[in-house]
């Protein structure tokens, strides 16, 4: 038996297979019939892609029909190519090339010959189509933008590439797929599910009905409509203010973590990436390596945070118990440490305690406070790690996890990082070596959205919701990730003096000239040094202008971070823009028209041209 078993199994299998094959091939005639009819044509029924609305129900993105000219090469008969080319406005060479390509792909399967006709082209072609055997029209739905803004938030749709088609069997050649932004992240919800019909054809390629009475057919499922958290008016206003500048604005609703506006500049009109002009337009945007309009600065640009970072250092010091809000520190036009080294400061009254320390943005105050927080621990390593943990609880130093398709982690240095750059343990390092962190000018990097989220956490006195762009899906809950409070490691009682300090920034401090009548704002200016490389040499550029704020102080409705590249000091560009955005959102109209006019009439293009000019230039004018 042990010898025979496998023999028996092999022979039995052979007999069963031959029996089954005999049945399939010789006895059952229906298969031969089915195949002789040559078979089955697959027709896809594309559902409407879901609409996108803003937080107030304003329609941002809808659909428009578009028509692709398709051909099945084996059915194409000789036709009047001159007329065809004239109607559809293409060159004969292009037509021949397209048809050859289609033939190589498959003579029996449809290929797109001309994508995305306009309505009028379609109407004209429709009339003449009977002259062109083997061609037909496939209707698709394209995006129709009701807004000229928020291109980087919305994303776009484009034909599925070869890689995606190979990876995901849902998509076939010619399908449109969401890319970037909301279109990309919520692709599966927006697109719905396409329906399939299997149609039986006879030998002459005539339709003779549904294959197997339609048991394999499916109906299309409509895409879901989405509401996003963006306020379209505020977004449009933000983009207008950022014209001729580079940088980002992120405004959040602190109570929910909803993104009210997400501006990156320069940007582009989303309508550029629709239809037949999509490809050349995209190429133009893609290769603009200087302004980089496809680069989402509010999500991806990692800048040193500058002085707004002082607020968080104050909070850490209070939480660690190394300072009280009333304790004063002297500023001698700067802070002296080590052997004759000095961190400069600007003129203001001295000594200062915490509230005026923030209001006047005193570097010496924060150098003292930061040092104490680090030196509280026996080794600088432990000190830095504790400090870094506090920062991380504010969502800094790692991907925020928002539902936007791109992002950057920023950077929060820890002990390992300093050990490696200072070659520990061969050489030792101390808190003073990391002192630039005290004023947000050291190794720390943040993206504008991280900074806005940090501001929201301060406004909320110690917690935040992960910033998100999706407000509502038709018939579904939004992800739990965005409805769970995240707590910072700072107790809520420590936020009072810091918020008061930020309030004083507007009353008596660095933003006193930017007050908005009738709105109590808490804010913080920032000015960050930055460098670039020109011909391999490190060159300093004009400082970045930074501002964070939230308002109203008592009941925060909006938290905002503004970053203007090379805008010089914080109050100059970023502070003005933040104030205008807050007033626009809370009041709907602008009373500081002087500020608005200043922003709209000032351009930084000249500043951006400097490093490209190849000539020596002066910064910070």
């Amino acid at each position: 038996m042990r010898r025979l078993l496998l023999y028996i199994i092999v022979l039995t299998t052979g007999i069963i297979f031959l029996g089954r094959l005999f049945y399939l091939q010789v006895i059952d005639e229906s298969f031969a019939q089915l195949s002789e009819n040559n078979a089955v044509k697959v027709v896809y029924d594309y559902p409407q892609r879901g609409y996108i609305f803003d937080r107030n129900g304003q329609l941002l993105v809808s659909n428009q029909p578009s028509y692709d000219v398709m051909a099945i090469p084996m059915n194409v008969k000789a036709f009047d190519t001159a007329e065809f080319c004239r109607i559809l406005n293409i060159t004969p060479e292009k037509l021949v090339e397209k048809l050859d390509k289609a033939k190589i792909y498959s003579p029996r399967l449809p290929s797109i010959i001309i994508p995305q006709l306009t309505k009028s082209e379609y109407a004209y072609f429709q009339e003449k189509m009977r002259n062109f055997d083997g061609f037909y029209i496939q209707k698709r739905s394209l995006r129709d933008y009701q807004t000229h803004n928020a291109a980087n938030v919305l994303g776009y749709i484009a034909e599925a590439n070869k890689k995606l088609i190979a990876e995901n069997p849902y998509y076939i050649s010619g399908d449109l797929v969401g890319q970037q932004g909301i279109e990309g992240y919520y692709e599966e919800l927006l697109r719905g599910v396409k329906g399939v019909q299997y149609i039986q054809k006879d030998r002459f390629n005539r339709t003779i009905g549904k294959f197997k009475d339609g048991i394999f057919d499916t109906l299309p499922q409509k895409g879901r409509d989405l509401s996003v958290t963006i306020d379209a008016n505020l977004q449009a206003y933000g983009e207008k203010l950022m014209e001729n500048k580079r940088g980002g604005i992120v405004a959040l609703e602190p109570a929910t973590g909803e993104i009210l506006s997400l501006v990156t500049a320069p940007s582009y009109d989303p309508a550029l990436l629709v239809g037949r002009q999509r490809s050349p337009n995209f190429t133009k945007l893609y290769y603009d390596s200087i302004a980089m309009p496809l680069y989402n600065r509010s999500l991806q640009a990692e800048y040193p945070p500058g002085s707004p970072f002082k607020t968080i250092n104050a909070l850490i010091a209070l939480q660690e118990g190394v300072v009280t809000k009333g304790e004063k520190f002297t500023c001698n036009n700067g802070y002296f440490y080590g052997r004759g080294r000095r961190m400069g400061c600007h003129p203001h009254s001295s000594p200062l305690d915490m509230i005026p320390g923030i209001a006047q943005s005193c570097n010496a105050y924060f150098a003292n406070v930061y040092r104490r927080a680090i030196e509280k621990y026996p080794t600088p390593q432990e000190g830095i790690d504790t400090w870094a943990e506090h920062l991380r609880s504010f969502g800094l130093g790692d991907y925020l996890g928002s539902d936007l398709s791109t992002g950057r982690p920023g950077k929060v240095p820890n002990a390992d990082y300093y050990n490696s750059i200072y070659n520990y343990p061969n050489r030792k390092w101390y808190a003073s070596a990391t002192l630039s962190n005290a004023i947000g000018q050291g190794e720390v990097l943040t993206t504008p959205i991280q900074l806005a989220n940090m501001t929201a956490a301060i406004a909320n006195k110690g917690w935040f919701y992960t910033p998100h762009i999706l407000r509502e899906i038709e018939g579904r809950e939004i992800d739990k990730e965005y409805t769970e409070k995240k707590y910072t490691t700072i107790d809520s009682k420590h936020f009072e003096p810091v918020i008061e300090g930020m309030h004083q920034v507007y009353k008596s401090g660095t933003a006193a000239t930017l007050r908005i009548p009738g709105i109590e704002i808490a804010g913080k200016t920032g000015t960050a040094e930055n460098f670039t490389k020109i011909g391999g040499k490190r060159v300093q550029l004009t400082d970045h202008s930074i501002f964070i704020a939230f308002a109203p102080v008592e009941d925060p409705k909006i938290a905002i971070a503004v970053f203007v590249e090379n805008g010089y000091w914080g109050g100059r560009y970023a502070g003005r823009i933040a104030g205008l955005m807050i007033e626009k959102y809370l009041k709907g109209s602008i009373s500081r028209t002087d500020m608005e006019e200043w922003i709209l009439t000032h351009s930084l293009e000249e500043e951006y041209a400097k490093p490209q000019s190849g000539e020596p230039f002066i910064i910070n004018q």
């Binding site: 496998l6 091939q25 031969a32 078979a39 048991i215």
Partner: protein, 416 residues
């Protein structure tokens, strides 16, 4: 060496050649584009396969040139290297269509799992040929299962359940060398219970198991069977049956469930998977007695059958060569398997016999699962048809597996 060359089993080599050549002929048809080009066009699938086939001649020569004692002596080392090659995939491997199963060198992708089968066969042969090895000892049974289990786990992690399934082939040599038949019976019963439960549900399977146990118990009552054993077995069977539902609904993925349901006729698939099997059946069924002729298959040319040049290559045979062609291919495989079993039985060394049985088992599993799938009597499991399907790693893996045995057989006398 001169003595052994005359002893090569030319029958096996001849069948191998027929399968490889006929396989290429069908791959050519299934992958034929519309532009005519040289048969060694590297850009075309049939051109690539042609190169692989030519290169496998080199592989054959090397395999036959190595002293057969090498395979025996270094089997453990080869096995360990093979396992490492699977582990390495998770670091250096490339993920294609969801499976981390490939190393890519330049434009060439290699699937190490195809070579691991041969290494496992060598390791198993080495283990079972040990003088101490006694398959009645639980400890040795465990060791044997470990040899099979390691590659299974690594292959499952890719994940490639089809290739993992092939390792059940090693139960054949184990059974041949004295493993208790209960293991085979248990495996068989598990399959019957599994399929049965899915077909009619546990509500019917439980009484069926109880009635069957009772009948067996009464039929055997003269042998004074132990009631407890019967009772225990029935309870385990019922427990298994109940767990099948759970596993099916919660562990299997939707596409696995669909594949089972289609074959079991439980539901008509609406997502297009059933459509594929259906198209494959139409292709084969439309072949008739003698087929539509080479490169004349309308189903094949219309690209109706998915993956036709790889896993579904047999549907091209059925359509273009008809029942006649299918018969020849089935017959060739049956003959090859019987020839290998015959050769295995005439070996004097346990090592050679176990290796031969492993070889037969592996080829059989591929043959059974692949053709069963293509003709619609087995769920869709993506494994290739040996020597036939497109794919360099597969072809080389099987060539290596087979020719090591031919070499072992050729030198079977020189050991003693």
């Amino acid at each position: 060496m001169p003595k052994s060359t005359v002893n090569f089993d030319w029958t096996t080599i001849f069948i191998y050649l027929l399968l490889v050549v006929f396989g290429w002929v069908n791959i050519y048809s299934a992958s034929l584009g519309d532009s005519t080009s040289s048969i060694f066009d590297f850009g075309e699938i049939y051109g690539k396969q042609g190169i692989w086939i030519l290169l496998s001649i080199v592989l054959v020569i090397i395999t036959l040139a190595i002293d057969s004692r090498f395979y025996q002596r270094f089997s453990s080392v080869i096995y360990i290297f093979a396992l490492l090659s699977l582990v390495g995939l998770f670091v250096f491997g490339k993920t294609i269509a969801g499976q981390t199963a490939w190393y890519v060198f330049g434009g060439v992708s290699i699937q190490p799992a195809e070579f691991v089968k041969a290494a496992t066969a060598l390791a198993m042969a080495k283990f079972l040929s040990g003088i101490q090895t006694n398959l009645n000892l639980f400890k040795h049974q465990l060791q044997a299962f470990l040899i099979i289990g390691l590659p299974i786990v690594l292959v499952l992690m890719q994940p490639d359940p089809g290739s993992a399934m092939v390792y059940f082939a090693f139960f054949f040599p184990l059974y041949r060398e004295g493993l208790h038949y209960a293991y085979l019976l248990l495996g068989f019963l598990a399959i019957v219970l599994f399929v049965g439960t899915l077909l009619v549900g546990p509500l019917w399977m439980i009484p069926a198991v109880l009635v069957l146990s009772l009948t067996l118990f009464i039929a055997n009552r003269k042998k004074r069977p132990s009631l407890i054993k019967y009772f225990f077995t029935a309870i385990v069977a019922i427990g298994f049956s109940l767990s099948v539902n759970y596993v099916f609904e919660n562990v299997f993925k939707q596409h696995h469930r669909d594949r089972f349901n289609i074959v079991l006729g439980q539901e008509v698939d609406a997502r297009g998977i059933g459509f594929n099997t259906n198209q494959s059946e139409i292709a084969i069924g439309s072949g008739g007695w003698i087929g539509k002729g080479w490169t004349e298959g309308t189903q094949t040319k219309g690209k109706f059958v998915p993956e036709q040049h790889t896993d579904y290559i047999f549907s091209t045979v059925g359509e273009e060569w008809g029942f006649f062609g299918s018969f020849v291919v089935i017959a060739l495989f049956v003959l090859l398997l019987i020839r290998i079993l015959h050769l295995a039985e005439r070996q004097k060394s346990t090592f050679n016999r176990v290796y031969g049985y492993s070889l037969a088992g592996i080829i059989f599993m591929h043959f059974f699962v692949n053709i069963g799938m293509v003709i619609g009597i087995f769920p869709t499991v993506g494994i290739p048809l040996p020597f036939f399907s497109y794919g360099g790693s597969g072809l080389w893996g099987f060539t290596l597996l087979l020719f090591i045995f031919i070499k072992l057989d050729a030198e079977r006398m020189s050991f003693w």
